[in-house]
């Protein structure tokens, strides 16, 4: 009986593995001939991406992608992605390009390709006024609990640099900031450019942003390894966006300020 069961389980598992068909990413030619480019945007990262009153995704990423699509002469299809699933989406060819604060790092670059930077992010510490920390280096202690978003870059940063601190991982930014407001943690290390809108939702909380920047990240557009030609074309398009001042214009429109650490335009890439 047991043998039969184990066998049945094994057969089911093998069938499951076998049905995971290797998805092929689309090449530049495929995108052009289909007339549509599918771009993944994370709507929980305002003002990069958020839902408006009509439940449409809008934001810096959407405007940026719109310009890109215009340059390529195709229609834009915005696809909703989240922090944990955005890389699988692009690696499996469900979308052509992923945005949503895609920080490039060597780990990710093993799985997907990155274009030249589209924008930067300045990593800082969000905490409340009753906490006395002045620098992130003071936070390597078991008394500190970070509330972080599962699948986001700072999780690894904390694991590597603040191994004694505790970490609570939640699924998205609204949940993480709410947990912090409710006193479930000491602080959150993440990109401060994006925190204003979340902080505004918890008005009774006395927020504090620790001034010393932890790090600067360069965020690119991500494409699948086998999307022949797409990355090279995007590099040229993004260079043009920066050179014509379009990137700065869109950033100012959505963030209400200049990029804290602007990407320097260079003709070599």
């Amino acid at each position: 009986m047991l043998k039969k069961l184990a066998l049945a389980g094994l057969v089911a598992l093998t069938a499951f593995v076998a049905t995971v068909a290797p998805a092929a990413a689309r090449t530049l030619d495929d995108v052009i001939s289909s007339g549509v480019i599918r771009v993944g945007v994370n709507p929980t990262l305002p003002p990069l991406g958020k839902f408006d009153e009509k439940n449409q995704i809008v934001g810096f990423d959407v405007d940026f992608a719109t310009e890109i699509a215009k340059m390529l002469g195709v229609k834009l299809e915005v696809v909703q992605v989240g922090s944990p699933d955005r890389i699988p989406f692009v690696a499996s060819g469900k979308i052509d390009v992923v945005m949503g604060a895609m920080t490039r790092n060597p780990e990710r670059a093993k799985v997907i390709d990155f274009t030249v930077p589209a924008h930067t992010e300045v990593l800082g510490i969000l905490t409340t006024e009753d906490k006395s920390f002045k620098d992130w280096k003071e936070m390597n202690s078991p008394d500190v609990t970070f509330v972080q978003v599962r699948g986001s870059t700072p999780v690894k940063f904390i694991e590597d640099n603040l191994p004694n601190a505790k970490v609570t991982l939640l699924d998205n930014y609204p949940d993480a900031v709410r947990a912090l407001a409710q006193g479930r943690g000491t602080a959150m290390i993440d990109v401060m450019d994006f925190m204003q809108e979340h902080m505004d939702r918890h008005k009774s909380t006395k927020w504090k942003i620790v001034e010393t920047p932890v790090d600067i990240y360069y965020c690119s557009l991500g494409v699948a390894k086998n999307s022949t030609g797409l990355k090279d074309w995007l590099n040229v398009a993004i260079f043009e966006m920066h050179r014509r001042g379009k990137t700065d214009e869109l950033w100012k429109k959505w963030f209400g300020m200049d990029m804290i650490a602007p990407v320097k335009v260079t003709p070599y890439f």
Binding site: G9, F16, V20, P22, R108, V111, G151, L170, R178
Partner: protein
């Protein structure tokens, strides 16, 4: 070109996944045990209790059976703090799953209570058994045999249901799978291994339950 499977990138993280699996089992066992206590008590109340208590149990069961478990835990975790009750991730998940299980197990056990033969209960009454003695010596042994299969099924469902704990920062199997996925980006590999661990968990659990049922309550099952 197609995607190349790289299981080698994921195997080093297997201990993390197994640690998570242990936590999944722990949550399932604790919540199921708690749910069984609540369920037995509520089923007894529904069958023999005063009218107001029957109504109260009815409200509890209706509420928890007709709303998603995820929403119930979300309420415990994120809404209660606004009224000053701050449950930790683990406690919120455990409480939510216990209350949810209690409601389902009430319904399952009530069916068992009602399936006891009228004549047996009348015989017990004639012999001067008190209500509690009737439940203990006549109804429960009967219920245990009839209900063992549906109860163990519910345990399996709960084991798989622990996967939602990751939403609330509990690092059980699914939580660890998402973390390993975020470190390696080998989604297909990570979740295939994770699915395999879940299959092993539920196969082992259902086999143990079937054996237990056969010896403790003489339940005839096909070992699953």
């Amino acid at each position: 070109m197609s995607y190349v499977l790289q299981y080698g990138q994921v195997w080093p993280y297997l201990p993390r996944l197994l640690e998570g699996a242990l936590l999944s089992i722990q949550i399932a066992v604790l919540a199921f045990s708690g749910g069984l206590l609540i369920g037995t008590a509520c089923a007894a109340v529904k069958s023999f209790g005063p009218r107001w208590a029957v109504a109260a149990v009815g409200v509890y069961v209706t509420f928890f059976v007709n709303t998603p478990q995820l929403v119930q835990i979300y309420f415990l975790y994120f809404v209660l703090p606004d009224s000053g009750i701050l449950l930790s991730s683990y406690n919120a998940v455990l409480l939510g799953m216990t209350l949810n299980a209690g409601a389902y197990l009430t319904e399952i056990q009530r069916a068992g209570f009602e399936s006891s033969r009228r004549s047996e209960i009348e015989a017990a009454e004639v012999l001067g058994f008190s209500r509690l003695q009737q439940i203990r010596y006549v109804i429960l042994p009967h219920v245990a045999r009839v209900l063992f299969p549906p109860l163990s099924n519910h345990f399996i469902i709960m084991t798989l249901g622990t996967s939602m704990a990751s939403v609330f920062g509990v690092e059980e199997l699914t939580g660890e799978a998402l973390n390993v996925n975020a470190l390696t980006f080998r989604s297909v590999e990570v979740f295939t291994i994770t699915a395999g661990i879940y299959v092993v968990l539920t196969l082992v659990a259902s086999t143990l339950l079937a054996l237990f049922g056969r010896y403790a309550f003489r339940v005839r099952t096909r070992a699953a």
